[in-house]
């Protein structure tokens, strides 16, 4: 049995579910953020798999790969800003545990 598109979609779906479960299960803001990154990476995997599957005239569908490139760039910017916000929050509250951060005001 050779590899098909469904194998890759299944693996990417499982990775997404794992990240989703981590976001709900973990109480540490930084680890929640890492699980969000895992969900983004899972979406990238399914896009690349569709790009490889949608071969036209012998080349992969590069539109999807360009989209993955943009996703990676936006994720890098998102991580920089998000971690800066977490550091500012830590300075104000001395914690990154979500149960200790229940007020919107400083």
């Amino acid at each position: 049995m050779s590899l098909t598109l469904n194998h890759y979609l299944l693996v990417s779906g499982l990775l997404f579910a794992l990240g989703f479960a981590g976001v709900i299960f973990r109480r540490n803001l930084i680890i929640i953020f890492m699980c969000l990154e895992m969900m983004l990476a899972a979406a990238s995997l399914s896009l690349v798999a569709f790009a490889r599957f949608g071969v036209g005239e012998g080349v992969p569908d590069y539109n999807a790969q360009v989209l993955v490139f943009f996703i990676i760039t936006v994720a890098a910017a998102e991580v920089a800003v998000g971690l800066a916000i977490i550091v500012a929050l830590f300075r104000a509250k001395q914690t990154v545990h979500v149960e200790d951060i229940s007020k919107m005001q400083f």
């Binding site: 540490n28 690349v48 012998g58 890098a76």
Partner: protein
């Protein structure tokens, strides 16, 4: 087939280290597991003939982004977080979400007949970067510049956020 073995190996590594990210209690262990998970994901990209995206995945995600995570974890000194006890409600919630979501995905993929064929052949796999670069700079030139501006805005935003006193 060697690619089949590599697919199962990289998938198992990626999902195994993904479980480690969610389950390990030390944030540094989680971050290093996520690095291994992303490197395995880059291996899957290589198997899909997306060489440029795989290299970018290793350089940007496993390299830059995860080093930033590790840097922040060590800056905040989060060791005492590992002493907290586990609450039952989030654990059950996470398990239910994992089970339901996996069930939905398996159900959808089981009915997706078009995806059951093997991958079509591609002509010149070594010209991946050429095709990708041409598509990026010809068809997506404006989005590329918007993304560049976004990175600049993010850099300035981080500097503003990192100042000592927020006003």
């Amino acid at each position: 087939m060697i690619s089949d073995i590599l697919f199962w190996l990289f998938s198992a590594l990626m999902l195994g280290f993904g479980v480690a990210v969610v389950c390990l209690r030390n944030p540094v262990s989680s971050a290093l597991s996520l690095v291994m998970s992303f490197i395995s994901l880059a291996g899957l990209f290589f198997l899909l003939n997306a060489y440029f995206i795989g290299v970018i995945q290793i350089l940007v995600y496993a390299g830059a982004v995860m080093v930033l995570f590790l840097f922040i974890i060590m800056l905040l000194d989060l060791r005492e977080e590992s002493l907290r006890k586990i609450n039952a409600a989030p654990l059950v919630g996470g398990a239910v979400v994992l089970a339901v979501f996996s069930g939905c995905i398996i159900g959808v993929i089981g009915r997706f007949e078009q995806g059951n064929h093997p991958f079509p052949e591609i002509m010149a796999p070594e010209e991946d970067v050429v095709g990708f670069g041409l598509r990026l700079f010809e068809s997506y030139n404006l989005p590329l510049q918007v993304i560049g501006t976004l990175l600049l805005v993010a850099t300035i935003g981080v500097i503003v956020l990192s100042k000592r006193e927020l006003r």
